[in-house]
């Protein structure tokens, strides 16, 4: 339990009855009208409509809404410590709550790099004023330099839920093997941002027809796929290794993940809403809000992602929420920082693009936001609303049409390509440990 959680539950949230909603809890195989009673920060009862007896301190009218386990984002950049001009834990988690996320896993590429027990603990102190649960992903190597492993055991004991050198991928075979070996011994996932950076120097978008026309150096699909293939090979050989492939963006990388899963390797993978929504053709006028890493890929990569979402190759939808200040984005495209914000648009993009447009069932989408990510990082008591699980709940209206306005974002930064987009599906309330932390 995080210290933020302790302080929250010790305040004993009033009991809350969520009534009249449609519960989707993929881990419990429930997709039906159900009432949910939350008590003492946990789920006390789940029952058919009007079957829960006794009084609750408060009631939440969930008619017309989907009631889901609290969403979990395995990949965010909250920018603390050190880059508070982009985001703070307080502002980032406020945006997370508005996006329906009750738990976020924050990446260690901060200033300094979160590679020590001290910084993992610092992230979880109440002074950070987190609105939702924050889980630390610690650096896999010291200073994320790819030379010497960090102290996995100590980091794990301090509460880190995975390790990663996100953005500075581990290219050295020996170091990656060591990381997977130690991770395997500790049942600790190693998260890899798959990019052979030797092949992507000075590149600012996907290598293809469009990058050629725009005169921009392109990152090839092979620069991603080759690293995933290498990692998968290692994961197949190292006993108990747990590999989590971050933000998969190419068809070839997905093939490698699919192969690994068939071979029963402990490999999981995540995808971002922008990679299932946009392609490299969507960037106009060198708009750096379309610049992120991995870059927007080709239409055939997007098709492969949709197939992998449907067939179970992908385990989680993550935002890779990467806030940057205006002065870091409003510059020459090649010099602009990589990354976009995403916490407040993720669910709506999933409902709009995957459910409304592609007919992927809502239950599958909810799974990718809940049970799927909870399994990837073993977040016990989360990702499901079975009795006695933690009372993290997300309520959303799957039919609500709305327009996303970047200026109204709770994130400190506004670097999003989705400003002004008309979307379907909106978060209505977010409940963390039984307490409503966001409501429309």
């Amino acid at each position: 339990m995080t210290s933020a959680e302790k302080s929250r539950t010790s305040r004993i949230a009033p009991s809350l009855l969520i009534k009249g909603g449609h519960l989707i809890d993929p881990a419990a195989r429930i997709d039906a009208p159900m009432d949910v009673l939350l008590k003492n920060g946990h789920v006390a009862e789940v029952a058919a409509p009007n079957k829960i007896k006794g009084n609750a301190d408060r009631k939440f009218d969930a008619r017309g809404l989907i009631v889901a386990p609290g969403f979990i984002d395995l990949h965010v950049h909250l920018r603390e410590p050190g880059q508070t001009h982009k985001e703070t834990i307080a502002t980032g988690t406020a945006a997370a709550a508005a996006g329906g996320f009750t738990s976020v896993c924050t990446m260690p590429n901060t200033l300094p790099v979160v590679d020590s027990v001290e910084w993992v603990e610092w992230l979880r102190q109440p002074e950070r004023a987190a609105v939702v649960n924050v889980f630390a992903i610690a650096a896999a190597t010291r200073h994320s330099k790819g030379i010497a492993l960090t102290d996995f055991r100590a980091l794990q004991s301090a509460g880190a839920i995975a390790v990663s050198d996100d953005g500075r991928p581990i290219l050295d075979d020996d170091i990656m093997r060591e990381a997977l070996t130690l991770g395997g011994e500790l049942n600790f996932p190693v998260v890899q941002h798959a990019e052979d950076t030797r092949m992507t120097e000075n590149c600012s978008m996907h290598a293809g027809v469009r990058s050629f026309r725009l005169g921009l150096r392109g990152m090839t699909a092979a620069a991603e796929a080759s690293v995933v293939e290498r990692d998968v090979q290692l994961a197949l050989r190292v006993p108990n290794a747990r590999l989590h492939v971050a933000h998969v963006s190419t068809a070839d990388a997905l093939k490698a993940v699919r192969r690994a899963k068939r071979a029963k390797a402990r490999v999981t993978a995540e995808v971002t809403p922008h990679h299932f929504t946009l392609t490299d053709e969507d960037m106009r006028d060198y708009d750096s809000n379309f610049k992120m890493n991995p870059p927007l890929r080709s239409a055939s990569d997007l098709e492969a992602i949709l197939a992998a979402i449907a067939d179970g190759t992908l385990d989680a939808i993550v935002t890779d929420h990467a806030p940057h200040a205006t002065q870091e984005k409003q510059v020459e495209f090649e010099r602009a920082a990589f990354g976009i914000t995403g916490l407040e648009t993720a669910l709506a993009l999933a409902v709009t693009r995957l459910h409304r447009d592609k007919r992927i069932p809502l239950a599958r989408i909810v799974e990718l936001f809940t049970a799927g990510p909870a399994r990837c990082f073993d977040l016990r008591g989360r990702g499901s609303l079975v009795r006695e699980s933690i009372a993290d709940v997300t309520l959303f209206d799957p039919k609500k049409k709305w327009t996303f306005e970047a200026v109204k974002s709770l994130s400190k930064s506004k670097n999003t390509p989705f400003d002004g987009w008309q979307l379907t599906g909106k978060v209505v309330a977010t409940i963390v440990a039984g307490k409503i932390v966001y409501a429309v």
Binding site: E201, R213, G215, Y286, Q330
Partner: protein, 303 residues
């Protein structure tokens, strides 16, 4: 904000009629007969990269039209102190610029400027993206040597990948149905180049590119942009250097063009550079009336 009308960011979004209008206007411009179309206007030349031809011809074009010019280069200005592109743009606007002519090593830099600064922005070359004034002066040169674009075949030989000249030329000539054959080694000419515009083909063999060509355009191997690419120079010379024997493969009346700077002994021999078919200096000369037309259009003085 949309770019101010009169801006010239690239060839891609100009239609054939607009291009023809600009070429007609260029024909009416005579550097020997100054016209005060831009009298009292201030043209800011913002050069983030070295340039001889483009800079001097924009400057002469502006002055021939009666404008003042101010040259700002990245060295010796606040750019060196870390001022951002947009802040430099806002600053020169505040100083009283009426037009900004910008040359920049990053693709899209003029586009960023045009989205935020409310005066016409002229792209004088952005990274390896576009070089519209060069494409226009080359089209102008072609039309002075050939009756029309109709049925023409143009070979472009060399480092296409790093060439903004090649991109703009392909986009422009394609709009007039010209057949374009690009030729070079895969490192400098990826197959994907054929997707640049309709009518663009890729070959690795000089013979294929030159046979039937009315215009042969050579490009410099841009050592400053190779970034780690190792080009085998003797091999390049053996396969792609233009010499008198190879030039004979093209049509008898073919013209030889090169945007400069030329490197004698690399992409071409001195014999062809100084030969009867070469139009390299004519291109430079034609840069002035073409850029006069571009500047006049920027201020809406196209009568």
């Amino acid at each position: 904000m949309n770019p101010v009308p009169g801006s010239l960011l690239g060839i891609e979004h100009l239609d054939a009629a607009e291009i023809l209008k600009l070429l007609q206007l260029s024909r009416r411009m005579d550097p020997a007969k100054p016209k005060p179309l831009l009298k009292g206007k201030r043209v800011l030349l913002l050069f983030y990269e070295p340039s001889t031809r483009t800079r001097s011809s924009f400057e002469i074009a502006a002055k021939t039209l009666g404008a003042y010019t101010v040259l700002i280069q990245s060295t010796g200005s606040s750019i060196e102190k870390g001022e951002s592109l947009l802040d430099t743009g806002y600053t020169v606007r505040a100083v009283g610029a009426d037009i900004i002519v910008i040359r920049h090593p990053c693709a899209g830099a003029p586009h960023l400027m045009a989205q935020h600064v409310d005066i016409p922005i002229i792209n004088a070359g952005d990274g390896f993206h576009e070089h519209p004034s060069q494409a226009l002066l080359d089209a102008y040169t072609i039309l002075r040597n050939k009756k029309s674009f109709k049925g023409l075949q143009v070979a472009i030989v060399g480092d296409i990948f790093h060439s903004r000249v090649a991109r703009s030329a392909c986009l422009l000539l394609s709009k007039f149905g010209v057949k374009i054959v690009l030729c070079g080694p895969p490192e400098l000419l990826p197959d994907i180049a054929s997707t640049l515009a309709p009518g663009v083909h890729v070959t690795r063999h000089m013979e294929d590119a030159l046979r039937g060509a009315d215009v042969v355009m050579l490009l410099r191997v841009q050592k400053e942009r190779l970034a780690g690419l190792n080009i085998d120079v003797p091999e390049y010379i053996a396969r792609y250097q233009m010499n008198p024997a190879r030039l004979k493969l093209a049509k008898k009346d073919a013209i030889l063009m090169h945007p400069g700077p030329i490197i004698r002994g690399l992409e071409l021999t001195s014999e062809v550079a100084d030969g009867a078919q070469a139009r390299i200096l004519e291109e430079v000369r034609n840069g002035v009336p073409t850029r006069m037309a571009i500047l006049a259009r920027a201020m809406g003085r196209t009568r």
